[in-house]
Subunit: 467 residues, 2 copies
């Protein structure tokens, strides 16, 4: 494809996406596609000779779009937000178009330096501890997902606790980790991967708001240590996936600090709320954390993937993950004057992800981002109010921000039936969880185009389905 | 940004990339940027209010482009190819534009089914074992990088060897892994992460072509087992990063199969050569492999990131990585009729990466891809011939495909000086390695726009710099 052809076809793709933005509300939110239906439309073998681009693009409409679940629909209330925006998509496009590889500073200095700079911006924007700035002992890096950040945090914790010997010596079966019963499944996945074994992951009790009980954490850590185990890692959550519970960071942080346990804070979705000073109390105590992550690809208008991972002490992370083979040696690295982000995560290669985040921040401005976050919270709070006022429904958990967990009083089957009915209509999409052993419906507000009419419409459909 | 604004700004970005494609040859290949120079151009604080998109785009030209190392330049011969193409960039753009999240089949069926289908296509295109098709016991998934694939392979090996108990019980310090002295650093990184400890990673001797010696592998495995250790994993390479050495897969495979050791084959760069039947002898014996990866983001015209990871037995991989919390349960998953790719890798969330690969295969056609691969090999072989004919230079390793390792006979310092001279000119970019303890220069041919004139020009510059 020549540059001239790229110009022509590129315009067609841009137009197709603009059309999609305009039309997305009209699609069934959850794809009605049956298993195998999309594959049935694809030819068994790839073409021997090239096809016209127009034909490929037509197949996107014919085959792909009907098989999408429309996360960008204003009626998408499922799971978590994954909101995207024009500036993000175009920043990502430039990243693809330049085709750079940012594994080392020297393989594209701009890829590293824009990232470092934007991560420093994020520290200020979210009111994170200033020691996490690149000018301090800490620093930030963009990863793909919060799962990867949790794993990297656990690895650094494992190494720090063992004098950086486990990388060479392997595990000795004494290391333990902690998270609440409500923590994301990625903590368990990380504990498996890092070789501790899930039997060494202790699930700490939660209180009535589904927040981790710091007293139970301290008791379990002390008990394990007394039993000859080595507590190394705890993960607290700002906004759990299941119900948006807020773990008490200050109390947990003090427990961890006193005991030399690495504290990782997973604020994947709700961390974005800290753009607004009035929500920063939810992260009070963050200065005790050793690492932290927030995903702009969830609630900050930045398309997947973009997870911002910060550490309080970058040397522990780098010492854990750094390997320098001969074929990657270069003068800039040896000078010590640059950051090589390959030493900050699992993969070696890396995209220029900072470009899209830089575009988003500049396009919206910090005040613009705050406006949308506040609006989403306000819409969710309105929904929570309607739930509370209705005699057949109740809130299933506190709703501190943009996620509302609620249930019909008619029991689990009734709630599942409501969910299946509204999702099956194609007019909206929400998902469920279990809280205190009972089904709860989750309504997550945070898509770019979601307005009051959509949230109100969702409530009306739910009430109607319940009848 | 409204859809209408997106249409307008999107066209400007498309035009900017088309211009870049036309101009890229004119830029200094390796960025001349000094450490910190890019950050110095960026404001200390993010804007409070949003900025005009035109201004953001202008800053890309002013700040970002001068800080890029131009991997897409036809004069880029460093590291490995990272070739991109118009159809790939546009497929990736649609992935961003649709903003889907493919963690589960049900979160966007097309994201999963197109991926499964294209991965099946790859089996045929590359002559991989048919048991790796999704209709067999195996299967393929797109990951970010070969590093992540190696880690996933090691984890599945670890679990299979321990009756899938290590995930729960943790490591016991007896597991060992094997790779050649020339294997990629990601093997060592994976061994660290998975908790085996690098002391348990045995580096196997290589022969004069830098290929792993299967006899040394079998000896080391047997020796370790006799010593009470548990050999679980070996990584062989089709085309090492350092010198493009080809490990003898059939012999290694037989050693591993007889001893119940999981064999992972890393064909990240050179696997693409198998598009051409005449190069498939390099992967002879692949049917003995338990897992395999090839990176279309290196040599198959697909922009980063796109690593194709295959396993011979998908159940081992899924059993290793699967966790199903309540909030992700859904009817499709419970029916067992669908693939949920989140269980095939470390992250939970995932991009619709298959779209760009699908676009590339359809745009070029298999014959078109073969044409370009053959052309790159031919150009590299031509270069190798010039090296051999020149009295002051020699080949430093066999050059079976598109990477030529060579050196000036004047010693290490002379070679480093040649490299610094040609790279410093901005007219081309190559990198180095060490082979038999001596510096060798690496010329890697594989960028989309590289033609004979560029390779010839590179040789002339090298010869001139040597004088």
């Amino acid at each position: 494809m020549t540059p001239a052809e790229f110009r022509r076809h590129g315009r067609a793709v841009i137009d197709r996406i603009a059309d999609y933005m305009e039309e997305v509300e009209r699609y069934p939110v959850m794809s009605p596609s049956a298993p195998g239906a999309i594959r049935d439309m694809l030819p068994a073998h790839p073409p021997e000779t090239g096809e016209e681009f127009d034909r490929i693009l037509a197949d996107v409409d014919r085959i792909v779009v009907p098989g999408l679940t429309h996360w960008q629909s204003p009626n998408f209330f499922a799971y978590f937000p994954a909101n995207a925006s024009g500036p993000s998509i175009l920043g990502d496009l430039l990243s693809s178009g330049f085709g750079v590889q940012g594994m080392l500073w020297s393989t594209s200095p701009a890829c590293t330096e824009v990232e470092t700079h934007v991560m420093d911006w994020m520290v200020g924007m979210l009111g994170l501890p200033e020691t996490w700035l690149s000018s301090g002992p800490g620093g930030g890096v963009i990863q793909d997902t919060a799962s990867s950040s949790t794993l990297c945090a656990l690895l650094a914790a494992r190494e720090r606790a063992t004098g950086f010997k486990t990388n060479a010596e392997g595990l000795d079966g004494r290391l333990t980790a902690y998270c609440s019963t409500q923590a994301h499944s990625s903590v368990e996945k990380a504990v498996r991967i890092a070789g501790l074994g899930t039997k060494k992951l202790k699930h700490i009790d939660v209180d009535d708001t589904f927040a981790m009980r710091a007293d139970d954490l301290s008791r379990r850590i002390d008990q394990d240590r007394a039993a000859g185990l080595e507590p190394v890692f705890a993960c607290a959550t700002v906004g759990t996936t299941s119900s948006n519970a807020m773990d008490p960071l200050r109390e947990i942080g003090e427990v961890c600090r006193e005991r030399g346990v690495w504290l990782h804070v997973d604020a994947a979705m709700s961390g974005t709320a800290a753009l607004c000073p009035e929500f920063r109390h939810l992260q009070d105590g963050l200065e005790h954390a050793d690492s932290y992550c927030v995903n702009p690809h969830k609630w900050m208008f930045t398309n997947f993937d973009c997870d911002c991972f910060f550490v309080a002490d970058r040397s522990a992370l780098i010492r854990t993950l750094s390997i320098l083979p001969e074929y990657l040696k270069n003068q800039a690295t040896e000078s010590g004057a640059v950051i090589d982000y390959r030493d900050w995560h699992i993969p070696l290669g890396r995209r220029f992800r900072a470009l899209k985040l830089w575009f988003v921040i500049r396009h919206y401005g910090v005040e613009g981002l705050r406006y949308h976050v506040r609006r989403h919270v306000e819409l969710a709070q309105g929904f929570a109010g309607w739930v509370e006022e209705h005699e057949d429904f109740e809130l299933a958990a506190p709703a501190p921000l943009n996620l509302v967990c609620f249930r019909h009083l008619g029991g689990d089957e009734r709630n599942r039936a409501i969910m299946d009915r509204v999702n099956g209509s194609g007019e909206m999409f929400l998902t469920h969880t279990k809280l205190h052993g009972r089904v709860a419906l989750r309504l997550s507000v945070g898509q770019t185009w979601t307005e009051e009419e959509h949230v109100r419409g969702a409530w009306e459909k739910i009430v109607k389905a319940a009848r």
